[in-house]
Symmetry: C2
DNA sequence: GACTGGCACTTGGCCGGTGAGAGTGCCAAC
DNA sequence: GTTGGCACTCTCACCGGCCAAGTGCCAGTC
């Protein structure tokens, strides 16, 4: 028996099932694909594929549908990369270049990704910890308050207002500004935090409390968990495609989409390249019939964060992967131009 | 015939229907409410209520359900204000007081409102145009770039970086800072914009291009449409309660929740007090079987923005109204303390 | 005159049975 | 290894009947 043909059959089953959403039988499969063999042969192949766990039958007299394992094989070995149409590329590009700031880029990405894939799109905001310090500003406000502004390489601006116990002299502010800038400029935020820690001791003992207070706030800003965890979600209306039964197919997904923690785990580590997790591979109970396609994105070679889509396991993997990859590239480029 | 009893019947119908989600008949209504009359009498009252358009029958042999007009009457004249339990109050309070900044307040409000009402919650970010200038900072960066920071009374911080054609002298920066501060401090943003326009002519002709550039950016920041339009949505998983038919009951709502424009119209003008819009009153086709309960919130007497919930018309209006009102009050207070 | 009990009528939902259709597994033949 | 044929299984859609819930109306009662 030809191994190749059996894989062809699996591919045909996946493609047909994705297209029709219905179990595919041996005859209807041959109507759509020229395999050059008879239904009986296909049936034999199907029986083997089922034994090996790639496909399954909802009930005895129904056609076959792919299992998670089947989709996995399809994604790993059977699918050919679909490329986007020029129109789609242009859509992404024009949509993203209109963005005015980082928040806007993220929001537009979510929208375009959701539209492109007809799935739920999730985009993580560019990580603070992975970007570098572009500028630090220190301003004495009225009274004993100080305004701290940090601008990072990804274009994000963070600010804090610090309430000190004593008033700062202008000289000290100027001094602090220069020294902090010198120590941190161009550094990645975690490294910048380390350098700052060393900086405290270079100041006069009198000034240390104030300096410590400012440096602490700065360090907190650098390792700001909250903004690292920010995530935008869009295209939830596409949940319609997930299935007809609200409670089992849609509600768990909606619930997961509201939990930042879950979303972060889904997007996973900003690994390089595309990641596809199918069904139970998502590691989340309610998402056992969904698949997550994600990709890191970044300016230049630096991975800043991750974006991706959540859709039913019966999705068009090649198209989705192409869209996620393309959006990730364009977002990275847009941020780099910033 | 007693008019009062007919209204009692309507109230009973609304309450029962909200509780059971099923058309209520004359007998089952009497099981739950002591009206002191027989089913036949109730039937007569129902017939009248139906003639007047307050209730309707899904089909001949079914019980009655309230119409939009019926809910409207219920809300306006029949419902008694339910007050929150102390536990609920405490939940709101502790949840909101943990917030670290304005964004956090908004996100927490959405969450608590969604949990409290079991509906979809929407919260508009505090409006820039309604708040006042608390502090303006102007900092010369390297080269010919200038950092502009605006802190408003609602605690929001906005910043812009301006690329000028020529380098600024420190004197001019200092001068600008003082004069701009003097002109705008404590003013509402629209008024501040006006004052700024007058300011330009008080500078030397030589400096005018630079000043104009800075003032323009500042004015744009003051009237920043985008941040005025920001809205947080939460509790979409509660859409389960909207009905069982995804396409007609849930999808339109999901779609509406993704359209900022629609959301803004739903929240409406930040009128004083609670607003309830039922069914077609929402002015949005897809939301004909939903109702929106909204309220302005603000620090002190100043209405900053609006928040509210979107739920099925068959909702517990007294409870929802109480929750929306309470959250609005607490959010206002939290922002004022800021 | 308002309320009530009774009664005939309507109708949607549920149940069980039935027939068609799709698909399978297996077997003998090529 | 492949194919055609055949018996078998199972779901689904359809149909008819029955039941429960609810109504509207009418004659009687307080």
């Amino acid at each position: 028996m030809s191994d190749d043909r059996r894989l062809d059959v699996l591919r045909a089953i996946v493609e047909d099932y994705v297209a029709t959403q219905e179990p595919v039988g041996s005859r209807s499969l041959l109507d759509r694909h020229q395999l050059g063999v008879s239904p009986a042969t296909v049936r034999n192949d199907m029986a083997v594929l089922e034994d090996e766990g790639y496909i399954t039958q909802p009930h005895t007299s129904a056609g076959r549908i792919p299992t998670d394992k089947g989709y996995r094989l399809f994604v790993d070995r059977l699918s050919t990369v679909k490329s986007l149409t020029p129109a789609e590329r242009r859509a992404i590009e024009t949509f993203l270049t209109g963005a005015v700031d980082v928040d806007d880029v993220v929001q537009r990405s979510v929208k375009v990704l959701a539209q492109l894939t007809n799935q739920v799109a999730i985009v993580q905001y560019p990580s603070l910890t992975r970007s570098t310090v572009r500028h630090i500003e220190l301003v004495a406000l009225e009274g004993s308050r100080v305004l701290l502004v940090v601008i990072t390489s990804s274009g994000r601006v963070e600010q804090r207002i610090i309430e000190l116990v004593e008033t700062l002299t202008d000289d000290l502010v100027a001094d602090l500004r220069t020294r902090i800038t010198r120590a941190t400029m161009g550094e990645r935020l975690p490294e910048a935090s380390l350098k700052l820690a060393d900086l405290i001791e270079t100041f006069a003992v009198n000034d240390r409390p104030v300096v410590t207070s400012i440096v602490t706030t700065l360090t907190q800003t650098f390792s700001n968990e909250r903004s690292d965890e920010r995530i935008a979600v869009g295209g939830t209306a596409n949940l319609a495609r997930f299935g007809s039964d609200f409670d089992t197919a849609i509600k768990p997904v909606l619930e997961a989409m509201e939990e930042q923690v879950v979303l972060l785990r889904l997007l996973g580590e900003a690994t390089t390249g595309l990641s596809v997790r199918i069904g139970t591979e998502t590691g989340h109970e309610g998402l056992s019939s969904t698949a997550v396609v994600s990709s890191a994105y970044g300016a230049d070679d630096l991975a800043l964060a991750t974006l991706g889509t959540v859709g039913p396991t019966r999705m068009d993997y090649p198209a989705t992967m192409a869209a996620v990859g393309a959006v990730a590239r364009y977002v990275g480029r847009t941020l780099a131009d910033n």
